[in-house]
Subunit: 445 residues, 2 copies
C-alpha cells in the first residue's frame, strides 16, 4: 500500500524530506511505502540539491493539496500565509498534515486543531520544536501518565550559539551576532531569534501539549538576548552560572471556580535570558544544540537533547510524523472518519490561563552601578530586607576602569521572591543616592 | 469505554502503577478510562503502600491473565519465570502486554515477539530500559526515518552511582559498593549490575529496535566495573576523561551475500567501562541517572536523559505503554485481529549479526607497571608502532610509593585500532623486560 506525499516547499527541509523518501534503504521499512507525488515550489527553474522528476513540481501549492494522489500534506514552506490557508485546505479535504511551522501553530493552533478535530485528521508538528529532537511525540505518547510540573528548555539554537561564544570568548553580543550572520547561524534579520519570539512560539506549543490546553501566544512575557551585556555573562560565570535563553512553562495549580465551571490551569510561561547553575543539565548545552527538560510526577526530570535546527534533523522529525500517520493508517484502514488515536491527535482537554507576572516568583540577578564607598552594600541589603526579599549573595566586582572613577559594580542574587515585591525593592534601591543605575536584571534558575 | 488492567506484581513499580490509575486527575484524560481489575501478589497479607479493594488481589497470576475483565496485562513481577510463561499466556489469549522485564525481553524477545505477531497483539516495553526516560517509544515512533549508526548509553544507574562516587571521592570500588548497598542503591547481590549483565540486557533490546533485527544477548562481550581500580579513574580524570560503564551498539555495514539471500547487518555491541571525554554529553551524567545517545542519518546526535530506575519513573513508563495501547484501541475498536501499527509493534525487519570482536576497532587506555628507567617509554612506543598502532598520548604518572621502589606507571591512550592489532602490540609489550604488568586495559570513546 503506497501512501502519497505532497510537499509544500522544497527549501533545505523539503529537500531533506525528499531525499529520505527517495532513499528508503536502511530506514524503517514503512519509509519504502511512502511515495512523493507532488511538490510545490516557488520557482521551477531553480537548481535543487535533490533530483526530482520535473512533472512532480508545480508552482501552485493548492494543486498539491488537491491532488487525489496526495494522501498526506507536508507543509515546509514556512511563513504565516499561505501556509495557514493551505493547512486548513488540506484538513478540509480530509487529508492529514505534517508541518514544521511553529509560527503558524503557535498563532493559529486553536483554529487548526478545531478544524482537524472536526474532520478527524491528524496535524503533526514534531519538527516545529527542537529540530531533530523527539520532544512533541514523547510529550504526547510517553509522558501522559504524569502531572507535568514544568517544561523548560533551550529551544533556539541561534541564541544559544551566540551565548556560548559570548561566554567562551568574552565577546560582545553585537560582534558575535555579526559573525553568526556571516557563518549562516543567524538570519540577516535576526529579530525573531534574538528577541525571543521564536522561543516564545515554541514554548507556547510545548506548554499547550504538556498542560492539555491552549496557551495564548501573545500573552507570553518575552525578553531576548539583544540587550544582554557581555559583562553579565562574565560575572555570571564567576558566580558559577552560565547564561542561557530559557523558555519556561510552569504549572502553578488551578484557579477556584464557581461550581459547575471547569477550573483554569494557572501557568507561568515566559522567555528570557537566565542564569543556569553550572551543574544543571541545561548548562552543558552548547552551540546550536537544543535541550528540553520536562519535570513531572511521578517521572521526575527527563531531558531531551540534540540539534535544534538544520535540514537533516528537521527532516528526520518531519518523516517521523509522516511515519506515525502511515503507521496508524494501517490500523484504521483507509475508511473515512476512523476515530483518532487521542494521544497522537493531542486535542485540548482543559483550559489554561497565564497568571499575571507580578504574582509569579523567581530568583533574580541584579547588577547595580554605584559609587565606590563604604556602606553601599549595607544600604542595598537593607532595601531588599525591608521589602522582604531574601538574598543569596551580594558581590562587588572590581574593574580598574570603574574603580579609578570612584565607581563600583555590585551584583545581587536573590532567593525566590514574588515579582511585585522584587520590583518594590528595586524601586527603593534606585532611589538611593549611591546607586547610579540598575544596569542589568536577569532571572536565575 | 473502560479498559481493564491486570497487574502481575505489586512491588514498588506495581504499586506506582496502581497509584497512577487510582489518581487520574491532572494526567492525560485517557488515564481515567483505565480501571485496575485484578492484581497478582505473592502474599495477600503483606501491607501495601497503595490501598486496593481486597477482592482485586489474588495469589494466582494466571487468574489475572485469564480474567475476562482484564484487557491489558501488565507484568511487573520481574524474574524469568513465571514472567515469561505469563506473558506468553496473555498473548495467546489475545491480550496486549506491557512489561518492565528487561531480562525476559533480552532473552526471550524473539519467542515473545513471534507469538505477539501471530496473535496480532502489542508487547510494549518502555519501562525495560532507562526507567522513566522515553527511549523505546522515540526509537520506534520518532526516529524511523533515520539510518541509525550508533546507540550508546549509560543504562545502569547502580554502576553510574558507584563510578560517580569513585571519581568524586577517589574512593575504592569495594568501599563505594558497600556504601551503595547500605543506602539501597545497590542490591545485596550486585552481580547483574556491577558485572554488566543488566546493561547487556538493555543494549540488546535497544540494538534490536534501532537496527530492526534480533541481537543475540549471549554473544555480547560484557565487562563490568567490579575489577576497576580507582587509580584508573583518577588517571583518566587527569587526562580529561570520566569513566562510565557504557553500553554501545554500532552499525558496521552489511555483509556480502550470495544473490537471493538477505544481507546481515553487522553490529559491534558491547558493554564495558569506558573513558569518556569530559566535554562529551555522556560525561555529564552523574549518580543514578541514565542517558542514551542515538546517532543517525540525517538526525545527527540526540540524547535522552533522566532517572534510570525507581518506582516513580518506571511506573511513568509502564503507564505510557498502557496509554499507547488504549489510544490505538480507539482507532481499531475492539474488533479481533485488527492490524497492528507497525511502528508500535516494532517487529524485526532485517537480520543482525554481531561481528567477531577481534575485527572491531576502538581507542584504548592501557596502564602499564614498569621499572622506572630511561628509555622505557621509547620501547613501549616502538612496540605499538611496529604493530601499526597509532598513539594519542603516553604519560608517566608519578606516585611516590612506586618511585621509591624504582617502579613507574605509564598510561597509553591509542587512536582507533583494530582489536587484533592492539592485542598483538600488548603481547610484545608484555614481553619487554622493563614491563612488569599490563595493569589495566579500558576502552576510550
Amino acid at each position: 500500500m503506497t501512501i502519497g506525499i505532497g510537499l509544500l516547499g522544497l527549501g533545505t527541509v523539503g529537500a531533506g524530506v525528499a531525499g529520505i523518501l527517495a532513499n528508503p534503504e536502511g530506514r524503517h521499512p514503512l519509509v519504502g511505502e511512502l511515495a512523493l507525488k507532488r511538490v510545490a515550489v516557488r520557482d521551477l527553474s531553480r537548481p535543487r540539491p535533490v533530483e526530482l522528476a520535473p512533472e512532480l513540481l508545480t508552482t501552485d501549492p493548492e494543486a498539491v493539496v488537491d491532488d487525489p494522489a496526495v494522501d498526506i500534506v507536508v507543509e515546509v514552506m514556512g511563513g504565516l500565509e499561505p501556509a495557514r490557508s493551505l493547512i486548513l485546505r488540506a484538513i478540509n479535504a480530509g487529508k492529514p498534515v505534517v508541518t514544521a511551522n511553529k509560527a503558524v501553530i503557535a498563532r493559529y493552533g486553536e483554529e487548526i486543531n478545531a478544524a482537524a478535530a472536526a474532520k478527524g485528521v491528524y496535524v503533526l508538528i514534531e519538527a516545529a520544536v527542537g529540530g531533530g529532537i523527539p520532544i512533541i511525540e514523547p510529550l504526547k505518547q510517553s509522558l501522559g501518565g504524569n502531572r507535568i510540573q514544568r517544561v523548560s528548555g533551550i529551544i533556539n539554537g541561534t541564541t544559544n550559539y551566540i551565548l556560548s561564544r559570548m561566554a567562551d570568548e568574552g565577546a560582545a553580543y553585537a560582534d558575535v551576532l555579526a559573525d553568526a550572520q556571516r557563518l549562516g547561524y543567524a538570519e540577516a534579520d535576526p529579530a525573531a531569534d534574538v528577541q525571543g519570539g521564536d522561543a516564545a512560539d515554541k514554548i507556547a506549543i510545548l506548554a499547550g501539549l504538556a498542560y492539555g490546553g491552549r496557551v495564548e501566544r501573545a500573552a507570553i512575557p518575552t525578553e531576548g538576548i539583544d540587550r544582554l551585556d557581555s559583562r553579565d555573562v562574565a560575572y555570571a560565570a564567576q558566580l558559577g552560572y552560565g547564561v542561557k535563553l530559557l523558555a519556561v512553562a510552569q504549572h502553578l495549580g488551578a484557579d477556584a471556580v464557581a461550581s459547575g465551571e471547569a477550573p483554569h490551569q494557572l501557568l507561568d510561561v515566559r522567555v528570557h535570558p537566565t542564569l543556569v547553575p553550572k551543574d544543571h543539565p541545561l548548562a552543558g548545552v552548547h552551540g546550536v544544540n537544543n535541550a528540553i527538560l520536562v519535570e513531572g510526577d511521578p517521572v521526575g526530570r527527563v531531558m531531551f537533547y540534540g540539534p535544534g535546527a538544520g535540514a537533516g534533523p528537521t527532516s528526520s522529525a518531519v518523516v517521523a510524523d509522516i511515519l506515525n500517520i502511515a503507521g496508524i493508517r494501517q490500523v484504521s484502514g483507509s475508511q473515512a472518519q476512523a476515530p483518532l488515536d487521542p494521544l497522537l491527535a493531542a486535542s485540548s482537554w482543559r483550559q489554561c490561563r497565564l497568571v499575571d507576572s507580578s504574582l509569579t516568583t523567581h530568583r533574580n540577578y541584579v547588577r547595580l552601578r554605584t559609587t565606590d564607598e563604604a556602606g553601599v552594600i549595607g544600604k542595598i541589603g537593607s532595601c531588599f530586607g525591608q521589602a522582604g526579599v531574601s538574598i543569596q549573595s551580594i558581590v562587588q566586582f572590581e574593574r580598574s576602569a570603574e574603580a579609578a572613577e570612584g565607581r563600583a559594580e555590585i551584583v545581587v542574587i536573590t532567593h525566590d521572591v514574588q515579582e511585585a515585591q522584587f520590583r518594590a525593592a528595586l524601586g527603593a534601591i534606585e532611589a538611593l543616592e549611591e546607586v547610579q543605575a540598575v544596569a542589568a536584571c536577569l532571572r536565575t534558575l
